[in-house]
């Protein structure tokens, strides 16, 4: 079973990479862009066929290690 985890900076916290890229896009003339956020994607391959149990375990991994709950939100999705 393959999981896709999307991790991104919480709304309202400073995202220097997003801000710099936003400025660059606007400088290129893409004036409709109002915000840019960077995140990271992690793919996990897991053994077993119990999707619910595996999802719960992946969520625990995110809370404990893969994301920092102080500054990041995350989404989990089964992709294969």
């Amino acid at each position: 079973m393959r999981f896709r985890i999307d991790i991104r900076r919480k709304e309202g916290l400073s995202d220097p990479e997003g801000l710099t890229t936003l400025t660059a896009l606007q400088n290129l003339g893409y004036s409709a862009v109002t915000d840019t956020h960077f995140g990271r994607t992690i793919y996990l391959d897991m053994d077993g066929d119990d999707a619910a149990a595996a999802s719960e375990e992946v969520e625990s991994m995110c809370r404990r290690l893969l994301a920092n709950p102080v500054i990041e939100d995350f989404d989990i999705e089964v992709v294969g």
Partner: protein
């Protein structure tokens, strides 16, 4: 007092810290991160470097190193725990200090002397300094940009947990004097009890005239002063 200077794979400031503490007659020993018993020590320093390669996030892997349970136990017991640079990031990841450190505002690695102003002198990092003192010490980091939500920042300010603020030479915490975009120019914070503290600049690199500044001496001495003030044997 006897200080454990923790060495993670990738730590690179442990000898500087040990040298600085030695100049102040504070005994210290290097302790590898696999150690699980720190009961022989009165305090801990987590030095700078790139623990576990800074993979995933700075400090994210290091916080699960075997030594960290003992560090947390000492912190809870009220013993001095100090994180410098990468050590600060580890303490934040471990939840022993509030907030987090993210990439610098200008996305550049900053390596230069900066000025900080002492905001509160009741902590393990500042007990031997004076409030309002302006110190010149080196900054050496890419992820030094301190962030926390506004409620947490307000609480830190109200409790005197903001220890150091980036400022200009005259002590004004202006925006141009904020090298990395840290919220409210924050360079160092403590927990509510003041016994756990972290800062991004490197006080251990400002302890001898030949290094260009001795302004870090007071900060490095503060662990011992904090214990003396608490009535313990230094």
């Amino acid at each position: 007092m006897n200080v454990a200077v923790v060495v993670f794979p990738g730590t690179n400031c442990e000898h500087d810290v040990k040298h600085a503490l030695g100049l102040l007659d504070i005994k210290s020993e290097l302790v590898f991160h696999l150690e699980t018993d720190l009961s022989a020590f009165d305090g801990v320093v987590l030095p700078g470097g790139f623990a576990h390669g800074d993979y995933l996030r700075t400090g994210a892997i290091a916080r699960f190193s075997p030594v960290m349970d003992s560090v947390a136990a000492l912190a809870q017991a009220g013993a001095p725990v100090l994180g410098i640079c990468n050590g600060f990031q580890v303490l934040c990841e471990a939840g022993l200090l509030p907030g987090a450190l993210v990439a610098n505002r200008d996305l550049s690695f900053i390596c230069k002397p900066i000025h900080v102003r002492v905001e509160s002198a009741t902590s393990v990092l500042t007990a031997a300094t004076e409030p309002g003192a302006v110190l010149r010490i080196p900054l050496n980091s890419y992820e030094g940009n301190y962030v926390a939500d506004p409620a947490t920042l307000d609480e830190l300010e109200a409790n005197g947990q903001v220890l150091l603020r980036y400022c200009d030479e005259a002590g004004n915490p202006t925006e141009p004097a904020n090298p990395n975009g840290s919220e409210r120019n924050i360079a160092g914070v403590a927990n509510a009890a003041g016994n756990v503290a972290g800062l991004m600049p490197h006080p251990e690199r400002a302890v001898e005239t030949i290094l260009g500044s001795t302004d870090g001496l007071g900060l490095m001495r503060s662990m011992a002063t904090f214990l003396e003030l608490a009535g313990a044997t230094p």
